[in-house]
Each structure stands twice: as C-alpha cells, then as structure tokens.
C-alpha cells in the first residue's frame, strides 16, 4: 500500500513537470521568428486562407488561451493539434510512427540489459584476466564512439562486405496486417512468421548500432558494482559458510549489483528513443525519431510540442518504473521524490 501511495504521488508530480515542460516548449514555439502557417503554405496562398488556418489552429489567440485549448484537446479527445508539415493530426502521426520506434527501442533495451549484465559478470568474475581486458577495451570504445559511427561501420562490414544484412529499409507490410504499427508485432499478430523473420533481419543492424554504446556503459557499471561486492564482508562470509561458486555469483553477488546497474539502465533506456534518430535516418527505418526530426527541422509548432511531450512522457514512465524496480531490489531505499 505504501508503495502504491508513493507511486501515485510520484506520478502526480511527474504530470506537473510534464505540464510545465509543454508550456515551456509552447512559449518557445510562439517566439519562432516568422509565421509558421505562412511558411508551411508557401507564398501563393491568399492571406484570407492563412488567417482562417491561423484561427483554426488558435494561433491568433493569446498564449495562455492557445495552451488551454491545446490541453483541452488532448484531455477530451486525444487531439494534439494539426501538423503544418504533414497536414495530418499530430496524434495520428504519433500513433503511426511511435510503435515502430518503441519496438526498435524495446529490442535494443533487452539487448543492452542481457549483454551488459553478461559481459559485466564475465569481466568481474575473471577480473584482470585476458577476457576481462578484451571486454574493458571494448567498453572503452563503446562509450566514446557515437552511435552513427557504429552504424556506418556495421553497414560497411555486414551489409557491403559480407552481404549478411540489408543496407537499410524495412520489409513492406501488407495493409491488412497493420494493427499496432509495430512491424514485428504486426507480423506476429498476423501469424506470418516468415515476415517476422524478415523484419528481425532488417532490424538487426539498427538495433545493434543503437545498443552498442549502452551495452558498453552497462558492462562497465555492472562490472564495477560486482567487483565492489566481491570484496564485501558478506561474500567472504558466504564463502566460508560453504556457498558454492555458482550460487555465490548468481544469488549473492548479482542481486545487490543490480541496484546501480538498474539505475543507470533506466537512464540508458530513457535516452534510447532520442538517440535513435540518426540510426533511423541511416537505416531508413521511418519511425518516430525520424518523424520528430522532420517536425523539428520544419518548425512545425504542434508537431514539436507533441513529440517533446511524448519524449517527456516516455522518459518519465521509464524513470518511475526503474525507481519501482530499485525499491523492490533494495528495501532500504524508498521511492525517490518523497520529500
């Protein structure tokens, strides 16, 4: 019950922060030099039409009023306003592109957790051996190399030289398959496993490029957490008490090491979507990050507020989940933000 109450308070707090964020971005948008409606319509459209669109989009009203209408639209109808760039509702656009990218990020998040914990554990257990050194060199390069450099390197190696993976793009989805918008999930829901295999095949390099920096960082954190715990008194005691090596590593060492690992993991996962945009551009994945990029570059007012809000929501949700995870792992810590 206590956890539930704390979580509720946390969620409320987060909602307020997100509200403030959206207002902030909203105020930014209003001071865009030039007229976004005019620049999206081109110089040929008559002034009356422009005025009509401006008033439809509430651009002729004062900032607080416009903001109020926008919030009202979201709360009552899930309406994020109209995009001046795609000329569709921003909510529709988000619903179309977000699931694709979430799928990409989900696979990436799983890969980061699995590989990070695996490599970190190997590195810590065989501390200072050759394998530890190899892993540490890898983590070093992983952390300092930008994701796009990995993407290009993998493209050159796996696509152009070895011809193992496609250079970019995704398989075409038959229209009757499209349900959620997430490619792999839609293929699975339609029961088309061959297509699912194709989707996975085309997603392999994007997921790998997106994950490798995270894997490297996660490995570092997990290794140092495990190394720290190996020297702790309770491990020496467990050893003396005759606990076997396997149980020692997997039960007594792993669990406490997960606390720092998990905290860092949260930040990594939360930033995946933001990092995905170059990967999506390079591999022509056409997901949410690429959509965000186009609305930002085209100064599309409602588009920008919409995508930043989505980024904020995802960031917040991941953080709340991670806090809950950590407080389950470590009963000493309560949920954060309980001042």
């Amino acid at each position: 019950m206590k956890i539930l109450k704390k979580t509720l308070r946390r969620v409320l707090h987060t909602l307020l922060v997100l509200l403030a964020l959206s207002f902030l971005i909203f105020s930014f948008i209003r001071i865009i030099p030039g007229d976004p409606v005019r620049s999206s319509m081109g110089p040929m459209v008559p002034e009356e039409t422009i005025q009509k669109i401006r008033s439809e989009l509430n651009f002729d009203k004062p900032l607080p009023v416009q903001y109020f209408y926008w919030i009202k639209g979201i709360v009552t109808a899930g309406d994020f306003g109209m995009s001046l760039f795609t000329h569709r509702s921003v909510g529709e656009d988000i619903a179309r592109y977000l699931p694709r990218s979430l799928e990409l990020c989900l696979y990436s998040a799983l890969l980061i957790l699995m590989m990070g914990v695996l490599l970190g554990t190997i590195s810590a257990v065989f501390k200072n051996s050759w394998i530890d050194n190899v892993i540490r060199v890898f983590t070093y390069f992983g952390v300092v190399t930008p994701p796009y450099a990995f993407a290009i390197f993998f493209m050159l190696l796996f696509s152009y030289s070895l011809r193992l993976f496609p250079i970019g793009g995704v398989p075409v989805m038959p229209a009757e398959y499209v349900r959620t918008g997430a490619l792999g999930l839609d293929a699975l829901l339609a029961g088309d496993f061959a297509l699912y295999g194709k989707v996975m095949h085309s997603m392999f390099l994007p997921v790998l490029s997106l994950s490798i920096g995270g894997i490297a960082y996660q490995t570092r954190i997990h290794r140092s957490a495990m190394v720290e715990n190996i020297n702790a008194d309770y491990i020496a005691f467990a050893r003396v008490a005759g606990v076997g090596n396997g149980k020692l590593i997997f039960k007594h060492l792993m669990k406490p090491s997960f606390i720092p690992t998990f905290t860092v993991y949260g930040l990594q996962v939360a930033s995946l979507l933001g990092n995905a945009f170059i990967i999506e551009v390079l591999f022509r994945y056409q997901g949410f990050s690429q959509y965000s990029l186009s609305v930002i570059m085209n100064k599309d007012p409602y588009g920008i507020v919409g995508v930043t809000l989505i980024f904020g929501i995802i960031f917040a949700v991941v953080n709340v989940l991670i806090d809950m995870g950590v407080s389950v792992l470590d009963p000493r810590i309560g949920l954060r933000g309980e001042a």
């Binding site: 964020l21 865009i32 300092v144 939360a270 551009v281 930043t308």
Partner: protein
C-alpha cells in the same frame, strides 16, 4: 633531512598540493596519454589553418580533376566529391567541434553551478523548490531533442547550436552542485563559519565553491566528449555549422551517400570524433581517480 623538511614546508601549499595531485595523475599512463592527446587536439584546433595542407579547401573550392582520391601521402584522408582535401576539412571541423564544446561549457557550467549553490545553500526554502523544480523541467526530455528544438526555433547556426546544447546541459551541473552543497552544509567548518557571522555570499563563494571545483572540472572534462558527440549528431542532420564550412558530423552524413566505395569520406571524420572524445574521457577518468584518492 630536517633542514629540507622545513624548507619544503615554507613553499606555497598550493604548489605542493598540485605536485601531489600531478604525481597521482601521472602514475596512470592512460591518463597521461589522454592529456597528451587533448593538448595535441587543442593545438591542432588553434593552428588548424596553418597545419592544414590545403586550408582553402575548408570553403567552396572545387577541383574536379582530383575528386574521390583515396588516402595517400599527399591527401592523408583522401579527397571528397569536389576534390577537397578531407584531412584539411577535418582539422577545421575539429576546431568547430572543440569550439562548440568550450562554448557550451562556458554557458552552462557557470549558470548551472550558481543555481546549484543557491538551491543547495538555501535547501528547504522557496528558492530551493523553485530552482530544483525548474531544473527538473529541463531534465525531463532527452538533451539532444531539447537542443535540436531550441536550435531550430531560435535560428540554425554555430552559435544557436551551442546555446541549444547549453540549455539542455546546465541542469546536470545544478544537480551535481546541489548534491555536493547539501552534504557540505553539515560539515563543521561551514557551521562554524556561519556561527562566526560571515556573510552568506562569502560562505557560498569562498567556502563552498572551492570545495566543489575539482568535481565540476572533472565532470567538464568527461562532458566535453558527450557534448562533442551531441554537436556532431546535430550537425549530422544539418544543425550547427553551415556548409561550406566543414563540421565533423556533417562530413560523416554527406559521405554516407558515397559508401562503400569512398569509405574515407565517412570513416576518417568519424575516427576523428572518436579520437577527440576518447582523449577527453581518458583525461576525465584520470582526474576522477585523483579525486577518488583524495577522498580516501
């Protein structure tokens, strides 16, 4: 022996402390390597147009007769689609990358640290709540996205790209300073200074600030790498330094169209980014180690 000891005791304690820190730092060859490369990188950035074999290639030069030449003795990193020397362009790009990094730190660190000092010192008051809630808002979306939004809205270019990144970056310094100051507040020397009636601003600037400087500097060194990656990701999509002026990110993204035959167009500038980021990280790790040893 005794004579020597008294002699060294009379020398400047700051110099002594620095010597001690330098000794700790220099024991790790990787830290030294990082420092050496950072110095080399800064040197190259300052004298880029002197070192660059073809400084005029930073602009709109076109030499169709030597387009797409692979790396050779004359063109260390090959030439691009207009026959421009990639190595020269990389050096100029390096200058802008470093410049953005320094500009972002110069904008975000003082702002973030001052807010952190104020919020931390006045913990529990309305000022603390105001500052820290404000900080939270800026931390609630990925820095890269916030930086891109600010940059496109206020005007694309070198300066606004830096301002954009700075807008996304200062909260982390506020958070760091805040945490350090709140734990410092309970230290006896701060409590005594307060009791002896020293003015608040003096306590913050003369007693607290010096105690957090080394952590802030260490974070700055580590952040330099992340900022350069962020800036290069932005210039990858055309935000920041505008063509024909080269930036490492835009060089990589332009080169992608010519993969795989003309690999040097992408690989060389990408390696340059890796080199810069790695050197600042090695330096930062070395500084972190010195700090950690001091705390023990």
């Amino acid at each position: 022996m005794e004579m020597q000891q008294t002699l060294s005791a009379t020398t400047n304690p700051r110099v002594e402390a620095f010597k001690k820190d330098w000794y700790k730092f220099s024991r790790n060859p990787m830290s030294l390597l990082g420092l050496a490369v950072v110095i080399l990188v800064i040197f190259c950035a300052i004298f880029a147009d002197v070192i660059a074999p073809f400084p005029e290639d930073a602009g709109l030069a076109v030499y169709m007769e030597r387009a797409f030449e692979g790396p050779s003795g004359q063109h260390l990193a090959g030439t691009d689609q207009f026959g421009r020397d990639v190595f020269s362009r990389m050096l100029i790009g390096l200058r802008y990358s470093l410049g953005i990094g320094l500009l972002v730190l110069a904008l975000s660190v003082p702002f973030g640290v001052i807010l952190g000092l104020l919020a931390g010192y006045f913990k529990g008051t309305w000022l603390d709540i105001l500052i820290m809630r404000f900080t939270e808002i800026f931390m609630s979306i990925p820095p890269l996205i916030l930086a891109m939004v600010v940059c496109t809205i206020f005007g694309n270019g070198y300066l606004f790209a830096s301002i954009g990144i700075a807008v996304a970056w200062w909260p982390w310094y506020t958070r760091l300073t805040y945490n350090m100051v709140t734990s410092l507040s309970n230290e006896l020397f701060i409590v005594y200074t307060e009791l002896s009636g020293v003015k608040v601003m003096r306590i913050i600037l003369r007693e607290m600030l010096p105690n957090i400087t080394s952590s802030v500097i260490t974070k700055m060194s580590l952040d330099m790498g992340s900022i350069i990656i962020t800036a290069s990701s932005m210039s990858f999509v055309g935000l920041g330094v505008q063509p024909p002026t080269p930036s490492l990110g835009s060089m990589v993204s332009e080169g992608v169209a010519y993969l795989p035959e003309f690999w040097w167009l992408t690989i060389m500038p990408a390696l340059m980014v890796v080199l810069i980021v790695m050197s600042f990280n090695l330096l930062g790790d070395g500084l972190t180690d010195v700090l950690a040893m001091e705390e023990k």
